[in-house]
């Protein structure tokens, strides 16, 4: 499926009574979102650009009695598109008819800034240049002659430190002074292009001069679909045709090379002229505060390490101490406070109820989440943010440590453990317990059960396969908290600049599977939601990579809900048993990945990308993204949960006469799967049902398995085998439909037809091996 957006000719100029539109454009990681947030305030919508996964934020701003629409475009290094992001930005520049462009730039990277400026200059749209992150430039002794740059292009140039609020108001003021930039390369370009006969065709029909250099660059892109779009566009705006033969392609290529040479010379000259570097030592803010911060961070890390190990081998830990302190004095106090103001229910919702053995309080929304946060996450996160804000040198060191494998590997383990504490323990443990036990299984379902008289409606809503008692409960109480905590954690990692470093560390591993390090993004996202991750495989460059990543996601990457249930089940298993489960799943991923890299035709994409500096994430940005992703999840996943439950309900109710008596649809599916499940996998018959459930939603199946384990229906070996089969098994319905959408029906069916028997076969082999070796865990 092509993600190319059709390039259309410019429409008629917009009538002046329309709200003017302002586009924020710039390289990645230059602080566009922060400036966007400042300009627009709180009325912001985030949406995917049509046909892509690229998120685009829109908002409104008011200045001097005039209302503006503000659009935050994805970061670009060049307007000649090489990625989905760059395509979207290019399309928006051409098709969205911006009235003003505000180019946001990293002041210390003048060369890359001016590359984009020269490209924008070709579009002849009024613009303003914002040189952001002046503080980082100053720290490095870089001085930029912003006045001279403004004179060169004839546009307002504003210097700013957006995160500190410095210069933001000047951006407001400069917008009304936006000017169509001078194009410093125009003369040279026209001279270079006059002799190129293929460009004779390109005389603009409109008065506007065509962005010729950009046109040449667009004709050069790797993506044939995009090239066709560019040709179409040229044909429509300009008179005449462009032959698509070898000779023309060679001419375009030569032309592009020479234009590139000319621009490089210009950039080289400008950087030498406008950028001065005064070598200086890092200017660091006061030493004492920094030292205290560093000591706190070290203490936090030690505390974390001690607690993790201590809990594993049963030592008393600060986590235990704090919990018993809370149990003895804080929680009873808080509870009686709420009792006194007649809000007892709120108290127990927040802080939980006394457990049956009277030793601790459980299933509150805040408790024990709060101690988990205080002991394990806060002592690392807060000093880290403090130190990073104070010391650029530390940020640079950390940036180095996280990408060097010797230090990067241990740090990666710490970060993944922190993520596990947040998502697996606080999200999947505490929050799920609280919602399930306070809201759904106590308030909602029992009350509805009292209201609805026994009969078909009772069964439909609150019965064994009821929409509320099962569908809604699973979707909102079990899955939502996990998805939310996961997306918060993912957003924090995304904004901190850590993810590209993860890609560096894992590049070699992914290469075995015909992928490159960039694949780590969909894989990690898959731990949140495989369906969403399947969609983000689009960030991978080649078809081959996208297909392999899709297969691996479907096969082996458990989503957060599923992972949560697996981890919950792991409580009843030994460490070795869990190691077997993960070992088998991982080895199968490698095997299948390796084999598909040999079988699937095509090339692996180039692994090259910018590593942003480590920065402290702005929580507001993270929260906006999380909210958007959760909304997406609810919109896409909740209906599937309900649909899944509905199908189950129908299958359970509709009974058909058969030679073996009246059987429901569910019985028949179970009966036909039963020989496989009992014979090959040696599992109880009821597991078949779990597998069927697993297709409707993988995590939903896992939850069913969790119930079976809870009832003590399975031996440890059986648990291991069924966990492996369930994890490898067919993706959930939503994921399957997403594969159909991304890869086409044929490939999706092949993937399905491969994974199903494969999962059962692997389960069978594992079962056999464990039996033969007499391992019972």
């Amino acid at each position: 499926m092509s993600t190319i957006v059709q390039i259309e000719p410019k429409k008629a100029p917009i009538p002046k009574d329309k709200i003017p539109r302002l586009l924020l454009v710039g390289n990645p990681n230059v602080g566009k979102s922060v400036i966007f947030g400042y300009l627009t305030g709180k009325y912001v919508t985030v949406s995917n650009y049509p046909g892509t996964t690229v998120e685009v934020s829109r908002g409104k701003m008011k200045y001097g009695g005039q209302e503006w629409e503000v659009v935050d475009t994805p970061g670009v290094n060049s307007l000649a598109p090489q990625s989905d992001d760059e395509r979207v930005t290019r399309d928006m520049l051409l098709d969205a008819e911006p009235d003003v462009i505000v180019q946001v730039a990293d002041a210390k990277n003048l060369r890359r800034t001016l590359l984009v400026t020269t490209q924008l200059a070709e579009l002849k749209i009024p613009m303003v240049l914002v040189l952001n992150m002046m503080d980082e430039a100053r720290h490095r002794g870089i001085e930029i002659d912003s006045k001279a740059i403004g004179e060169l292009f004839g546009i307002p140039v504003v210097t700013a430190v957006a995160t500190e609020g410095e210069g933001l108001y000047s951006i407001f003021k400069s917008i009304v002074h936006a000017k169509v930039p001078n194009d410093p390369l125009e003369v040279q370009r026209n001279r270079l292009l006059t002799n190129e006969d293929f460009l004779h065709a390109l005389k603009s029909k409109t008065d506007k001069p065509l962005p010729l250099q950009l046109a040449v660059e667009w004709l050069q892109t790797q993506d044939s679909g995009f090239r066709r779009g560019a040709e179409l566009w040229l044909k429509q705006v300009a008179d005449g045709e462009l032959a698509n033969d070898a000779a023309t392609r060679t001419r375009i290529r030569n032309c592009a090379a020479r234009l590139e040479e000319a621009r490089n010379a210009f950039l080289e000259k400008s950087v030498n002229q406008y950028k001065k570097v005064i070598p200086s030592v890092f200017r660091e803010s006061s030493g004492t505060g920094l030292k205290i911060g560093l000591v706190c961070l070290l203490a936090g890390l030690l505390l974390f390490g001690y607690t993790e190990i201590g809990r594993l081998i049963g030592l008393p830990t600060p986590y235990g101490w704090l919990n018993s302190l809370m149990d003895r004095s804080v929680i009873p106090g808080a509870l009686s406070f709420f009792q006194n103001i007649h809000l007892g229910w709120l108290g127990s919702l927040l802080f939980g109820k006394l457990a049956d053995d009277g030793s601790t309080y459980e299933t509150g929304l805040l408790y024990p989440a709060i101690t988990q946060f205080l002991v394990l996450i806060a002592p690392i996160m807060f000093p880290l943010a403090f130190v990073l804000r104070r010391s650029e040198r530390f940020a640079e060191r950390l940036g180095h440590w996280t990408r060097d494998w010797r230090t990067g590997a241990p740090l990666m383990i710490v970060i993944l453990l922190l993520m596990y504490e947040f998502v697996g323990v606080i999200g999947a443990g505490t929050l799920v317990d609280a919602l399930e036990n306070n809201v759904f299984n106590v308030l909602l379902t029992p009350n509805l059960q009292k209201l609805i008289p026994a009969g078909i409606f009772y069964d439909f809503f609150v019965g064994e396969y009821g929409l509320v008692s099962v569908g809604l409960t699973y979707a909102l109480a079990i899955v939502l908290p996990i998805v939310m905590t996961f997306f918060i954690a993912f957003g924090l990692l995304e904004d901190s600049g850590y993810l590209p470093r993860l890609a560096i560390l894992s590049d070699r591993v992914f290469r075995v599977m015909g992928l490159n390090g960039k694949a780590v993004l969909p894989m990690v996202l898959g731990l949140g939601c495989d369906t969403m991750a399947t969609m983000t495989t689009r960030i991978l460059e080649t078809k081959k990579e996208r297909l392999i990543a899709t297969i691996l996601l479907a096969l082996g990457v458990p989503c957060s809900a599923q992972l949560g249930v697996i981890l919950a089940i792991s409580g009843s298993l030994s460490g070795w048993a869990m190691l077997t489960v993960f070992g088998v799943v991982l080895s199968q991923m490698f095997l299948v990945g390796y084999l598909s890299s040999k079988i699937v035709k095509g090339k692996r994409g180039d692994f090259i990308f910018e590593i942003p500096p480590i920065r402290v994430p702005v929580f507001k940005n993270v929260w906006t993204k999380t909210r958007y992703r959760m909304k997406w999840y609810l919109k896409e996943a909740l209906p599937l949960f309900l649909l899944g439950t509905l199908i189950l309900f129908v299958l359970d109710r509709v009974k058909v006469p058969t030679p073996w008596g009246r059987l429901s649809g569910l019985d028949m599916i179970n009966n036909s799967l039963a020989p496989l499940v009992t014979g090959v996998l040696e599992l109880p018959e009821k597991t078949a049902q779990v597998l069927v459930l697993g297709f409707l939603r993988r995590d939903y199946g896992a939850a069913g398995l969790y119930d079976m384990v809870g009832q003590g229906l399975l031996t440890p070996v059986q648990i291991v085998v069924s966990l492996i089969v369930l994890t490898l098994f067919i993706p959930c319905v939503a994921n399957f439909f997403m594969i159909v959408r991304e890869q086409g029906t044929k490939k999706a069916l092949i993937i399905l037809a491969f994974i199903t028997p494969f999962a059962i076969a692997v389960g069978g082999v594992v079962n056999l091996v464990l039996r033969v070796l007499k391992i019972n865990f």
Partner: protein, 224 residues
């Protein structure tokens, strides 16, 4: 060993090689490509000397001997182009004529010296592959390189980009949008598990394959 070859035969071998790279072996295209008139006599002579075989359909193929000989000629030619462009700083158009002159001066021993000096480049300025010589397979010869691909640099070493030699244009374009273009100073920050280079104020991660495409002037030899 083939220094006594006639200029005409050299031209024929060169164009047969170039055509094979493009996947063609038609006699018409070879005539078009060659800078000399390809006569029946000339082709017959080449065949007699054991460089070529011809079949009835007008297809021409190199023999093992022809392949070895043509490979050496092509190697010298393309190295000469690199030398003219990278060291003498001429443009692509200017380079063509001069490279032809140089090509004929380069004797066997000088060829490997030039190759070493240029850091064993893998592609000529037109991005055609340069056939490997014996010296390219011996890594220890690297120390004397004036120009080297960045995978041969040490961690912490600073250098200036000489050229990007990728066979596909999008890769060059991509590198240039990250700011990696001729004349730009870079510093190697890390070599494993992936390459990390600092270019201007930006850190860029690359895989080894791409690092091998970026040729730089090494600082210690930088007389520019």
């Amino acid at each position: 060993m083939h220094n006594w070859l006639s200029q005409d035969i050299v031209e024929v071998l060169e164009s047969v090689w170039a055509n094979e790279e493009r996947g063609s072996s038609a006699v018409e295209e070879i005539s078009q490509e060659a800078k000399t008139e390809v006569t029946e006599d000339l082709l017959a002579e080449c065949e007699r000397e054991g460089y070529l075989t011809r079949n009835g359909g007008g297809e021409i193929r190199l023999t093992a001997l022809g392949r070895q000989t043509a490979g050496e000629i092509i190697r010298r030619h393309r190295l000469a182009e690199r030398l003219v462009v990278d060291v003498l700083g001429m443009t692509l158009e200017e380079s063509e004529a001069d490279a032809c002159e140089f090509e004929h001066f380069l004797a066997q021993g000088v060829t490997s010296a030039i190759c070493t000096l240029l850091g064993h480049p893998r592609f000529c300025p037109h991005n055609h592959p340069i056939p490997e010589g014996e010296c390219c397979r011996q890594i220890e010869a690297q120390v004397n390189s004036l120009v080297a691909s960045i995978d041969r640099l040490e961690v912490g070493e600073e250098a200036k980009v000489a050229y990007v030699s990728a066979s596909n244009f999008p890769r060059i374009r991509k590198l240039s949008s990250f700011g990696i273009t001729p004349g730009v100073p870079i510093k190697v920050k890390q070599k494993f598990p992936s390459f990390v280079i600092q270019c201007d104020e930006t850190q860029i991660a690359l895989e080894n394959d791409i690092a091998r495409d970026i040729y730089v002037w090494r600082k210690s030899n930088d007389n520019q």
